[in-house]
Subunit: 568 residues, 2 copies
């Protein structure tokens, strides 16, 4: 149990005692009610912190107690309004991916267990296995990269090169922390370029794609200010031009490996030390250093040398400075990496993204399969960003399971890198001993985090979940068959239409349905209209636009008039 | 092992012996090669029949033998061309769903095991469980209906009524039979109307939606002919009007229960007898009767009485005849069902779908949760249909795992019904003892079958997987940075563009890329064009439309000219 859980439980116990005492003391009802409300909030917080369910339907269901009415730990439903926002987000992303020639493939949600084995380092323990029900041993996919590599290895004759995107769910049996948006089931949204290509060209295009996606999503239509680097004394404060929503941190595995060697990290400690460096985003340098020295047995002098390098970040200027560094010059791996970075900056300028890119030596992603450039897009620590992030998730009151998602930290909103050897691990080599390998580079957009930002940027009640354009309304006698017939006429003309499933509905509930579902227009009929062969059309969002009862239109002109108003 | 597997293995053994003998006899190489080719085909067939993998990359991978390079049994990948067809299919379906006011929700791919328990009768054994890794017991969802009901029960205060659609993967640990398109992972595509509404109105609209979807998908733009009923002597031969792709079989659970009672089926045998009737689509009446009498212990006279009813199908005429049937009249359940059917036919006429609907007493779906109308859309047994279904799956040669999907049977392409008690099973009742139940009716489109029909209706090589509009080509010196800069210009103007990731590509490979990816236009540059400040634009699909080298356009007018040609 974490401290905050323990503290929550403590508070709940104490508040419970207090309420009981208030009741004994016959305190005023509103005083007690207020305390009970606080208690409920605390319990909701605890439920979210521990990933446990809230009681369904406000605890009313007596009979349902036999079921635990919830989704599994670390998973959640998305309701109709949330899905409208998510689908718009996915469509925007797909639009950018397709602009760059992207095609999509689909792979199963689970893979043979052995396909996933040995790909994720320490994180392999987070893989979900399926029960062995007398068949193959299978696991839910952990990301979309390994399945893609497996696909390429299986289809290498057809796909020597491909730009593929994939939007799909992945699974990690992590301790869920909804406060951090960390779930056990979540979407990934990847674009990868596979194939042996001109060095650094696809790498730069991938970063350009990430910039385009984040700009199109308008995640950060803010003023960009300063980012304070999380370790003491070093402030990262490059101003990024107006409208730039994010900056892409770039590093290169070879530079990092070279740097570690130069600093005196023994070969066998490079991976563990690299994973310690990866924590620089969350921990102060002192703690990272402590992990290196105390836990991983690194010579303190080597740790200090690392400290001097990994505080470095900047643009081409830094790159040029490092190219002059005598110690790095003596290291082939570091020099190869720096030369690649030079090439990268050249293409970044052609792609007009150089001002969004910061060369950052602290960046070291945890996954084992990266072999070249690695990058990460992060929201900058601006006042505007923090203001949006501090807002409550809309619809929260209605969806208690979100109650504690109100705190989305600044952090990674896209990440990726080059993995040149993963396909080869699956594909092996051909008869002539030539490897069937296919080099790859890709990016994954952090759509769950982006989603929670987008939700905060709009009013929950203004999200239109349906796309209905016209509601068919009866005044007076119900006219069910007549309303249905009009709906048929509209559907057959490509107009999205609904009507109330009731033989004799009153007028008000029909108007209410239009309001609730944000339906722009209505077709209104009554006995008189039917007799005259007309209908009335009414603007339901701007109710003063038409006469109170709507504008009369001959039935034969109804479809044309609706289409005109809808801009079809 | 099935007969056909055994027979395949037998053939393989015999052919192997034959080939060895031919080699011993020093037969001509082409004779041996021919036999080897046949042997390979047999092995591929066997692999598909048993769901076993084919060797990857044509068996070339020596080192890869340590991995079994395949997807799990009963699952498959979809490549870029297949996905282009699938996404277009899903978009078409969503379009219809949204026309009827549908909204979408998302639920996790796995649910708590107890949520799924007791919902699927005998088929519960097909549920995939996740391994118990020290958490909750979870299972992969078996359909989208039970998760939807669970969602409604959890959110009943917000969603007393909703029209929701959901397109997502479901999982069944069935014996995969790719020949029948039966997979362990497949998509379902559901539309459901929840809420207490006017009787039979949502039911009829759901059927209207199914008809609209199947028409929009153009699954059956054929001449409709005769459907031969699978049991002897009875031919179902209602001609359905021109263009009608499918007929929707309708039955009503209450009619069926009433009919069974009238026929003398004891209460406790109604469910098992119902599931026997469900096999009428696959087995002749004699075998169904045998199952009823021998296995399920039904009185033979009762079985014969059932036989007389379940051969009945037709339109309103049949309905009216049954309403006069003295035995049915005496049965309250049957009469209630028949009266609902009367109402259904009334609304079906308003919805203009009555000619597509056949009242069919043999229809009995297997799932336990249906409580009212049940229906199933089936392809009719027409010459045209059979011609398309008999075609090979395109791209087959390239994707060996599809080798045996060449036989798609006539069968259900959409199905559904009313389930009024499922939500109540989760929701329980409120404090006043009033049930929190929400009645529902829905349809599930058989998208996997539809997909395999759509694939057969087009040429594999004509499927455009990407959406790229312009390819930027260099003549002569490579001009990589210049090509990249033009691509940036196009992307920033919303034009989908690619170029070759190569410093100095030859002209022909760039033209080949346009042909392969069906890219309509190219922008061509060389040293001369750069010097003059122009580009050349060329129609790549109709190469004679422009001069051989393309039409010269000033750089400043490039975007406008491309947009004009692309119809932006």
């Amino acid at each position: 149990m974490t401290d905050s859980e323990a503290s929550l439980k403590q508070q709940i116990t104490e508040l419970g005692d207090k309420i009981r005492q208030l009741k004994v003391d016959k305190a005023a009802k509103d005083v007690i009610d207020q305390e009970v409300a606080v208690l409920k909030q605390l319990k909701a917080k605890l439920a979210v912190a521990t990933g446990e369910p809230l009681p369904a339907s406000g605890g009313k269901s007596k009979k349902a107690a036999q079921f635990t009415l919830k989704t599994p730990k670390g998973t959640r439903d998305f309701n109709d309004k949330e899905m409208a926002v998510r689908e718009a987000m996915f469509d925007t992303i797909k639009g950018v991916f397709r602009k760059h020639g992207g095609v999509t493939i689909d792979t199963p949600v689970f893979e043979l267990k052995e396909i996933l084995s040995g790909k994720y380092g320490e994180d392999s323990k987070l893989i979900y296995d399926l029960e062995d029900q007398g068949g193959e041993k299978c696991s839910l996919r952990y990301d979309l990269t390994v399945p893609f590599s497996r696909f390429l290895a299986m289809n290498s004759t057809l796909y020597q090169n491909i730009k593929r995107y994939h939007i799909g769910k992945v699974y990690r049996r992590d301790q869920p922390a909804m406060t951090k948006g960390r779930m056990r089931e979540f979407y990934q949204c990847d674009f990868d370029i596979a194939g042996a290509h001109e060095p650094m060209v696809p790498d730069a295009e991938i970063v350009r794609i990430a910039v385009e996606v984040l700009t199109a999503l308008d995640v950060g239509d803010f003023i960009i200010k300063v980012r304070v680097w999380p370790f003491k004394g070093v402030v990262f404060c490059k101003l990024v031009a107006n409208h730039a929503c994010s900056r892409v941190k770039i590093n290169h595995r070879k530079v990092l490996d070279g740097m570690f060697a130069v600093c005196g990290v023994p070969e066998d400690k490079i991976r563990p030390i690299s994973s310690a460096v990866d924590k620089m985003d969350k921990l102060p340098w002192e703690e990272v250093r402590k992990e290196m020295v105390d836990e991983k047995g690194l010579d303190p002098a080597a740790a200090d040398r690392i400290g001097r390098y990994i505080c470095l970040s900047g643009g081409e200027d830094l790159l040029n400075r490092l190219l002059q560094d005598e110690q790095l010059k003596a290291n082939a791996s570091a020099m190869a990496g720096l030369q690649d970075m030079q090439l990268f900056f050249r293409y970044a300028k052609v792609f007009k993204i150089a001002d969004r890119v910061s060369f950052d030596l602290s960046l070291a992603r945890g996954l084992d399969y990266y072999t070249g450039v690695i990058y990460e897009a992060v929201l900058v620590d601006s006042e505007e960003n923090n203001k949006i992030l501090a807002q409550e998730m809309p619809g929260q009151a209605k969806a208690p399971q979100d109650a504690d998602e109100s705190q989305v930290r600044l952090g990674s909103i896209a990440a990726g890198g080059r993995y040149d050897e993963l396909v080869g691990m699956f594909a092996g080599s051909n008869r002539k001993g030539k490897s069937n390998n296919i080099p790859c580079v890709g990016v994954s957009v952090g759509v769950e985090r982006v989603f929670s930002i987008l939700m905060r940027k709009q009013k929950y009640e203004e999200i239109k979940a349906n796309q209905t354009e016209v509601y068919v309304i009866a005044v007076g006698d119900g006219l069910l068959d007549e309303r249905m017939a009009i709906a048929v006429e509209l559907w057959e003309n490509g107009i999205k239409a609904e009507y109330m499933f009731k033989a004799k509905p009153k007028l008000q509930p029909q108007f209410t349905a239009c309001d609730r579902d944000l339906i722009p227009l209505s077709v209104i009929i009554g006995k008189d209209e039917l007799a005259k062969g007309v209908v009335k059309i009414k603007d339901m969002q701007n109710k003063n636009a038409d006469e109170a009862g709507g504008v009369e239109v001959p039935y034969t002109e109804m479809v044309a008039e609706l289409k005109r108003r809808l801009g079809h």
